[in-house]
Subunit: 418 residues, 2 copies
């Protein structure tokens, strides 16, 4: 079948199902989530066997071992997916919540309530667990979902999706509320991101190139999870032990993620005291350091940082380091090179901290804590569908509530406008 | 100068000023708004004289009298603009508001606060009062503004903009926070809507064609005010006197606006009783009626409605009428042909009303009140910058709060992630 027509049909089915989704009770939705979790565990063998097909192909085409690792499903990872769905079931239902309410002088009662967005298309790469996380979060918020995973995980995604569909539909979820794009043709994506009639929002999760291409071509609104060039600024009044612990954690604990530190900024007054110890610790952990001139004057063994380093998301054991003359210089550096993701200051001076928290323009700004905490679970929002680095609609970790919209409901008794 | 470079410079200045804007106190912002209001009134003669230039050109090129009326500034309209700014000064300041706050088991305090969006570009047509409304609302929410009005009002917009800039900058607003696009070349707009580095959101206010073209070409996020094909459904259990009053108001009181009724849906059980009286009243007000077959069987003098009528925003004294067999048919019709703007039901039956309010997918859904109330002022939100018919970020009337974003601020004492 023509891919465009195929995508239109699929989007239309999702749209029709979304009307039923908006009126489901929490009991039905939570029951379905639990049934979906159980189904994943029951079908673990089938899922692993389809995953093997993807893994074989991945090895054949020579995917990197990191990518192959992300693609791999085992019993533990399938249990984690199921556990994720059970946790989503436990979250409060955002739909129907009264956001605000007032009575006007003319007697009109204006109520703003939370409603689903409608149809959400998730376009993602590599990790097949996104299939179940995304389907679960969208379902909880009363939305239909269109899932379009990467070609490298197509067999894994399709079996997971089918297991979830069967369990959901037999638990009272309207037929069509979970749609799987079965073709791996990139054309499918380019059709979906223009179907404003049926699709309310597109959420891309993947590499920079994919997100840029979706942003440039979409006419449907997009919420994107951008890259994270995250900084820690160690102020002259920092507790150096805390600074060392936080910086080490933010760089080394999991370097491949978006909230890991990529650049360390150090105030000149404590640089001589702080940098040698810190750099030694990083070197022991095999972190490659790239410093500016002032850094090299203190720790001459490190490599030279280039202009490009300041805007690079390494996602690896590499760190750029710069010595700054002032708080203002640190803030300017971050606002210039940062990606509005996660930024931190280490200081004992409350005034300095407050200025940093105010003036740094990012989704999440930390005082004396690791940037690694930017996460829906860590923020107490429950599971997340990603971390938004844009300012519109949602900023920072996006949980179930960020997958909703609002609607005004107005109660009158015959009011007309004069 | 090259238009692209000119726009880049202007956007960069707005971005730099936005950092200062984010930290202004309410006192400075409100003082500036009042000074801007006074300046408009003081410079009324200059403004009217520049407006005359636009009006002369408008007559020369043969603009319609309706458009010329919208373009015209007189003392009353200038006072209204000033009054609008004073009302914005009276509104509560949304910036710094704590949206939510929680302490996590590890001691981290997670606070979500309201912050400005940053730089907002407003692209609008015709009415020069948008220049001052938009500048005032954006300023109150701590944003820089880029104002790009239509070529037909260029002289009026530039003098208003300059008066506002002078008053704002001499009241402590950072230089550059209000930017005016001086060229009328359409190329300027196409550059602006791609400048994601400096511009955080684009808000188009104008005709359907302009909005479509911006949506199709923008890479910066867009919030658009779409057209309104608004319906009233008169249920079989309606109080017919209330129904008549509301329907008449929604069609006739101001037919040229987006929240006026364009289609009337009537339940078959009361159509014979309701339609003859209602149609007579509309005919006396010179409303042209276009009915479906069942409507014509009751009021045969009306014209035939075509398929196209159901999705037409007349913005005029024209009304399409359809008799429906059930509540479900009314809801389906609205969800198919409506534009998610404003929809109303007239009924005494609470269950029927509740189903309508739930299932109709629109920004504002009314029970026993006129659709004409969809408006920031009428909803008690203060002045509005438009009415969003999209679901992302803002839905329905957009006031000062809808011109903001959020930011997580996290207070720790050395926490690291395990």
């Amino acid at each position: 079948m023509d891919i465009k027509i195929e995508m239109e049909n699929l989007a239309r089915k999702a749209k029709i199902a979304s009307r039923g989704m908006a009126n489901l009770s929490s009991i039905v939705k939570n029951g379905a989530l639990v049934a979906m979790a159980e189904a994943l565990e029951e079908k673990a063998e089938d899922i692993k066997s389809k995953n093997t097909v993807d893994l074989k192909e991945a090895r054949r085409v020579g995917l990197s071992s990191a990518l192959i690792d992300r693609l791999t499903l085992n019993d533990k990872r399938i249990r984690d997916m199921a556990q994720g769905l059970r946790e989503i079931a436990e979250l409060p239902d955002p739909i129907g919540e009264i956001i605000e309410e007032r009575v006007r002088p003319n007697g009109l009662r204006i109520r703003k309530i939370r409603v689903p967005l409608g149809v959400i298309a998730i376009i993602y790469e590599s990790r097949p667990n996104v299939t179940s996380d995304a389907a679960g979060l969208c379902l909880k918020a009363g939305n239909s979902t269109i899932l379009r995973g990467g070609s490298e995980a197509i067999n894994s995604n399709l079996i997971i999706g089918k297991v979830l569909q069967d369990a959901a539909y037999s638990s009272g979820i309207p037929q069509g509320a979970i749609q799987l794009v079965e073709t791996t043709d990139r054309e499918a994506m380019f059709h979906l991101i223009k179907m404003g009639e049926s699709i309310d929002v597109v959420i891309p999760r993947g590499g920079e190139e994919m997100i840029r291409s979706i942003r440039a071509n979409a006419t449907v609104p997009v919420i994107s999870h951008g890259k994270g060039v995250c900084h820690i600024y160690v102020d002259k009044d920092a507790d150096l032990e805390i600074a060392e612990r936080i910086c080490f954690n933010a760089k080394v604990q999991r370097p491949g993620v978006c909230n890991a530190m990529e650049t360390l900024l150090v105030h000149k007054d404590i640089a001589k005291q702080f940098l040698p110890r810190m750099v030694r610790k990083f070197e022991q952990a095999k972190v490659e350091i790239r410093g500016d001139k002032k850094t090299k004057a203190i720790v001459p063994q490190v490599k030279d940082a280039t202009e490009e380093d300041w805007s690079t998301e390494y996602l690896d054991l590499i760190l750029s380091v710069r010595v700054v003359d002032s708080l203002a210089e640190a803030i300017d550096h971050i606002n210039k090179y940062g990606t509005m993701h996660s930024e931190a200051i280490v200081t004992r001076d409350e005034k300095v901290a407050q200025r940093f928290l105010n003036e740094v323009d990012a989704s999440s700004v930390f005082w004396n804590a690791s940037t690694r905490f930017t996460d829906g679970g860590e923020f107490g929002m429950g599971a997340e569908i990603g971390i938004s680095t844009q300012k519109l609609h949602a900023r920072g970790p996006m949980g179930v509530r960020e997958l909703t919209s609002a609607k005004f409901i107005i109660f009158g008794n015959g009011q007309i406008r004069e």
